[in-house]
Symmetry: C2
DNA sequence: AAGAAAACATGACAATTATCATATGATAAA
DNA sequence: TTTATCATATGATAATTGTCATGTTTTCTT
């Protein structure tokens, strides 16, 4: 099994602030997992007794609302940690995590992380900064949800996915989402999301190859008000 | 000037995890302020070089959107800390803070807080838990914004204010907000907020005394879908 | 106390978005 | 391969919400 001390993934998250000794200790108790696309990693209400370090793949964090819709709150990609919020609050998860494609993750048990949080202030501060960043992003999403139209939010979602997660060699977005996923990010009905995407296509802002989406005019999308 | 070591307010926030020595040090460099209702404490883009410990009063944290609306993201009340997120990210503020009534605050300079975050893991973990809690609340707001009607969101806002901030002796909500503030919390047009409140009144769910609101049927408000 | 300004209120209408119905293409299972 | 199921697509219509106009009340200022 590969070792945390040598893993390049840790460079991208708070684990980089751990000492070599701490990493060795974590390495000895972590477990590696392959998670198939569509698998629910944890559900709302589940006790999360560790964090997942995402070595490859993407998952969505979502929350069910009473009307049956599944609002996507955040996407976690390669390099990031999953489950840290619940771990710190010492509460069961308020979100569901679902793999959007095949994932490779390492699971680090709660006890290890907690021990390091207590002992290593640099690590703890790093996690704190991470959380502060997430909180800022969440604030921005609240404002967007409250003040912008479905059309604007969907345009911004496409831009966000493009800029944050990149494109395939053929220019299509590397994160493949269903129309329903788009609707659940934007917070609208699936039909509405489909309609707006169709319109973007008519306007030449995007093109589609099957369910793959390619952004044709980033500028055009940015100009939408 | 009163001393942090003896201040009861600190019991309600992360400052409770500081040692007596740390509190004495903070006490010596903190400054007390009275902030008048309506005063902007800091704006979007301002460098926040410290945290405010709220000894009395309430303020709103909001963010301007392009359409000129001012979305309220959070309210900070007596006992809580204000400005910790920006401080930790080491970024200028992403939100504006405005006093909703006369406030009494202590300002603690950044350098002091940062020093304690580095040295006192218990304090640092406490701040972390606070932030994790804020993040969870933000997630819930996102879901509400995305999936619920204005009517539902306004009902929930009334319940939230009632439960979190309490009522005056006559039963009216202790936090006095303008109709525009309600609209800016719910994320709707001021006229829409007014209309829904009028409807709640007609339905006997609330009553009003001037601009004061009294909840007549908490159960009724909870039942709204 | 009078006048000005702001907040509150409501009607009329327009724009946005959701819902229901239905059709078609894609994918998986038998 | 055929059927079944799901995702995508689009029309028709209803419901929700926003905008503009206008009037009233409250609050502030002088």
């Amino acid at each position: 099994m590969s070792k945390c001390e040598q893993c390049i993934i840790k460079q991208f998250n708070s684990l980089k602030s751990l000492t070599k000794e701490e990493l060795v200790r974590i390495s000895n108790c972590k477990t590696s997992h392959i998670i198939k696309k569509g698998t629910v990693i944890f559900e709302e209400g589940d006790a999360v007794n560790g964090v997942y370090c995402v070595k490859d793949g993407i998952c969505k964090l979502s929350k069910l609302s009473e009307n049956g819709k599944d609002q996507i709150v955040k996407m976690v990609v390669k390099g990031q940690l999953l489950g840290q919020r619940s771990l710190i609050s010492n509460e069961s998860s308020n979100l569901q995590a679902t793999a959007l494609n095949d994932m490779e993750v390492c699971f680090i048990p709660k006890s290890e992380i907690m021990a390091d949080l207590q002992k290593n202030p640099k690590f703890s501060f790093d996690v704190l900064q991470d959380m502060a960043h997430d909180l800022k992003e969440a604030d921005d999403i609240i404002v967007n949800m409250a003040q912008k139209s479905v059309r604007q939010r969907l345009a911004e979602t496409l831009i966000y996915i493009h800029d944050s997660f990149g494109v395939n060699p053929d220019g299509t977005l590397s994160v493949l989402l269903s129309r329903e996923d788009f609707a659940n990010i934007v917070g609208t009905a699936t039909e509405s999301a489909i309609r707006v995407l169709s319109q973007f296509k008519k306007e030449g802002l995007i093109s589609t190859i099957g369910k793959q989406i390619k952004i044709e005019s980033l500028e055009g999308l940015k100009r939408i008000e």
